[in-house]
């Protein structure tokens, strides 16, 4: 071994590689997109094929307000990450908590919609094909929002304890990437369920 202590040629002077956190999150997003694609295809394939009611046009109401909440949370998390990169920890914390609040509001909206559908219209996952595909697709997205909120909360707890500083901004950006993905998926789900599916 000692004969091969440094057997290799000179290192190139510039050698930079992509950030592994971002690459891995991109990989995860690709995999998740494939999962969502399958659910979206199933939803579109079964539009109008339910043998019994209720149908989408009877029960669905477009959740404009909650959609605006979720989409604007993408903006707040982006601003939060930017603030952290510039070492403005206070602004970061405020925007971060605002993001969590907006995400939570969106989940509340979904919960309200589901409650209305189940108790007023009697639509459950086993009622008909619409129920099966609707609750699975929206539920899968809601699950991703929930998982994202848990991760955002973990960061918030550390931030409240004063442990999130500028050197953590790359990690925060990786998390922001995931949150943007969850928002982008909602654009697709919204289009499919509330626009095309009716």
């Amino acid at each position: 071994m000692s004969a091969m202590a440094n057997p290799f040629p000179e290192a190139p002077t510039t050698w930079s590689l992509p950030d592994r956190g971002k690459v891995a999150m991109t990989g995860l997003i690709i995999a998740e997109s494939a999962i969502f694609t399958i659910f979206v295809v199933a939803y579109l394939f079964y539009v109008g094929k339910s043998l019994s009611g209720p149908t989408p046009s009877e029960v669905l109401e477009t959740p404009i307000f909650y959609t605006i909440c979720l989409l604007s949370s993408s903006l707040t998390i982006h601003r939060a990450a930017k603030s952290l990169a510039r070492d403005r920890v206070g602004a970061f914390l405020g925007l971060w908590l605002l993001t969590i609040a907006l995400g939570g509001l969106f989940l509340y909206g979904t919960a309200q919609e589901w409650h209305r559908m189940i108790y007023q219209h009697g639509l459950t996952i086993s009622t008909n094909l619409f129920g099966t595909t609707y609750y699975s697709l929206v539920g899968l997205h809601g699950f991703h929002v929930t998982a994202g909120l848990v991760m955002l909360l973990v960061v918030a707890i550390f931030a409240l304890a004063g442990r999130v500083r500028m050197q953590e901004s790359r990690r925060v950006e990786v998390l922001a990437l995931y949150w943007h993905f969850v928002d982008a998926v909602w654009v697709v789900v919204f289009t499919v369920v509330y626009v095309l599916g009716r």
Binding site: M1, M4, A5, N6, P7, F8, P9, E10, A11, P12, W15, L17, P18, D19, R20, V23, A24, G27, L28, I30, A31, E32, S33, A34, I35, F36, T37, I38, F39, A42, F45, Y46, K49, S50, L51, I125, S126, N128, L129, T132, T133, S136, L140
Partner: protein, 557 residues
């Protein structure tokens, strides 16, 4: 692998109690140990699923045979297929990727060591869940059953009405869990390759093994995820009363077929591309020539990756798609043969004019080349919708895909084990036993799978429980079964070789094959930290440059 696996050259580590060693292995996050765990886990399932195959073959040896009941026969082929694909094929290839990729690109470890361990244990849990169905599927009454819906589990067989108990649930959950493990490992391999390369290791200088595993991992992300989604739907159907695949409520059995094969066909390329990677490392070393057409190899692999995503419905020619769909999938299936053919020519071009050394890894590689070619040719035959309509669901199909998976993947894996075993354990595998293994396996393989085409052409359906005498299948089936037992004897020779050589094999040294990639520059087995100093590279064959400073590759690239 005792404490010798972590011996640092020149440093004597005192022997530890075995329980400490066990604890280290269970809690390890080291890519080399996880690689070995993957490989051992896969070899265990190779033996289990191999025994299932032998029982199937005894049952089919004679007409009107009743060794097992029809119900047990259904479970046997389901367990055999699922185990071989998910718990043998994928883990063993992930194991090699885990072990070799960081060493070949000069990295300390994978990009995410803890994710790596997590993914392995998820896959292991998947295998455990799958076989736990033997006792748990009827709810722990002691009288269990196993999944019996076939490895593709077509609807409506999987509906509650037709599959009582929990056997199908165990099947779905096992695949779901191991699917998450596969996605985790794939993300890890991609991040490792893109972000952990040593200085100078440009993408255009990367060993082909790393390149091909990068493509394979990308395919895992795109094609294992649909299976995950489909399993979630199946579980929703079975547990929450959903109707995704429930034809009584307007659901579609066809949709499951599409979702399954969107996964299922890229999956066979996920299995074969790492074996292409082994060939691309082994054939040049034993031909004493650099790989022929490196950029074309990379391009062909990426091309296979793309095209293989759009061929899935050639598994469904007989279910009644329209003629446009049939034509489309026929054409794409033919097209995927082109880049594959380019690869075969590249390996032949590498061997052409080389000083070929017929060591055991090379023997298995040459076997791979011939057999994979034939498998590809029957693949092109079956890829034609008109031909497939005649022979689909016959033993011809069984012969075709076993030709790719045994003649291709298993031969490739054996080549890789003979080639890298010295690096992993520090000992050479015995050459004589290795040749016995090779020749017995080749003879058994060809007896079984060459002849299996013929009963298929004569009309013998796949998954058939037994058959009547006098249809011209009797003698053929007998010889096919005898071939299976010759393969089993070869596997025994292989397992014996693994154990005997581990205890008594000749010391390997750093570089027993006079090879050119970075893993051979460090001791065998490699130290926990891999490289004492971060290597830098200036060409595709860094060790050639090192051994031949007067004529380095870097001058020509």
């Amino acid at each position: 692998m005792s404490s010798s696996a972590i011996t640092i050259p020149g440093v004597q580590i005192e022997d530890k109690p075995w329980v400490d060693t066990l604890h280290e292995w269970v809690t390890t996050v080291d890519h080399k140990r996880l690689g070995v765990l993957y490989i051992l886990y896969a070899l265990l399932f190779l033996v289990v699923a191999g025994v299932e195959a032998l029982i199937i073959r005894i049952q089919l040896m004679f007409p009107h045979n009743h060794l097992v009941s029809p119900q047990v026969f259904n479970r046997l082929f389901t367990m055999h297929g699922t185990t071989m694909v998910f718990f043998m094929g994928m883990p063993i290839l992930f194991g090699f990727a885990n072990y070799l990729v960081p060493l070949m690109i000069g990295a300390r470890d994978m990009a995410f060591p803890r994710l790596n361990a997590f993914s392995f244990w998820l896959s292991a849990l998947g295998g455990f869940l799958f076989y736990f169905s033997l006792v748990g599927a009827n709810g722990l009454y002691g009288a269990g059953n196993a999944p019996d819906v076939g490895w593709w589990a077509y609807a409506p067989l999987t509906a509650r009405a037709f599959s009582a108990g929990h056997s199908t649930d165990y099947w779905a959950l096992a695949l779901l869990v191991s699917g998450f493990g596969s996605i985790g490992t794939a993300i890890n391999i991609i991040a490792t390759i893109l972000c952990m390369r040593c200085p100078g290791m440009k993408l255009s200088r990367m060993p082909l093994l790393a390149w091909l595993n990068l493509v394979m991992s990308g395919m895992v992300l795109i094609s294992v995820s649909p299976l995950t989604a489909a399993q979630i739907m199946l579980v929703i159907d079975r547990y929450l009363g959903g109707h995704f695949f429930d034809t009584q409520a307007g659901g579609s059995a066809m949709l499951w077929m599409h979702f399954f094969w969107i996964f299922g066909h890229p999956e066979v390329y996920i299995l074969i591309i790492p074996c292409f990677a082994f060939m691309s490392e082994i054939i040049p070393v034993f031909s004493r020539k650099p790989i022929f057409g490196y950029p074309v190899m990379v391009a062909a692999t990426v091309c296979i990756g793309f095209v293989s995503m759009s061929v899935w419905a050639h598994h469904m020619f007989s279910v009644g798609m329209n003629s446009y769909a049939n034509s489309f999938f026929t054409i794409t299936t033919m097209a995927v043969g082109v880049p594959t053919g380019i690869k075969i020519f590249n390996w032949l071009g590498t061997m052409w004019g080389g000083r070929i050394q017929f060591k055991v890894p090379m023997l298995f590689s040459i076997g791979f080349l011939f057999q994979f070619l034939i498998a590809g040719l029957t693949g092109v035959m079956l890829g034609s919708a008109a031909f497939a309509s005649q022979l689909t669901l016959s033993y011809f199909v069984v012969a075709h895909f076993h030709y790719t998976l045994v003649g291709g993947v298993v031969f490739g894996v054996f080549a890789a084990i003979y080639y890298w075993y010295p690096k992993i354990t520090g000992r050479m595998l015995n050459e004589t036993l290795g040749k016995w293994h090779f020749w017995l396996f080749v003879i058994g393989f060809h007896l079984t799978f060459d002849l299996m085409h013929i009963p298929g052409l004569l009309g013998m359906p796949r998954r058939i429980y037994t058959y009547e005498p006098g249809r011209g299948w009797d003698t053929l089936n007998l010889i096919i079964s005898i071939g299976a037992f010759i393969q089993a004897i070869a596997i025994l020779a292989f397992v014996a070789n693994l154990i005997i050589s581990y205890l008594k094999g000749a010391k390997a040294g750093n570089d027993p094959w006079d090879a050119w990639t970075l893993e051979w520059s460090i001791s065998s087995p490699p130290p926990p930290y891999n490289f004492a100093t971060v290597p830098t590279v200036a060409s595709r064959r860094p060790l050639w440059d090192l051994k031949h400073p007067e004529d380095p590759d870097s001058r020509y690239e």
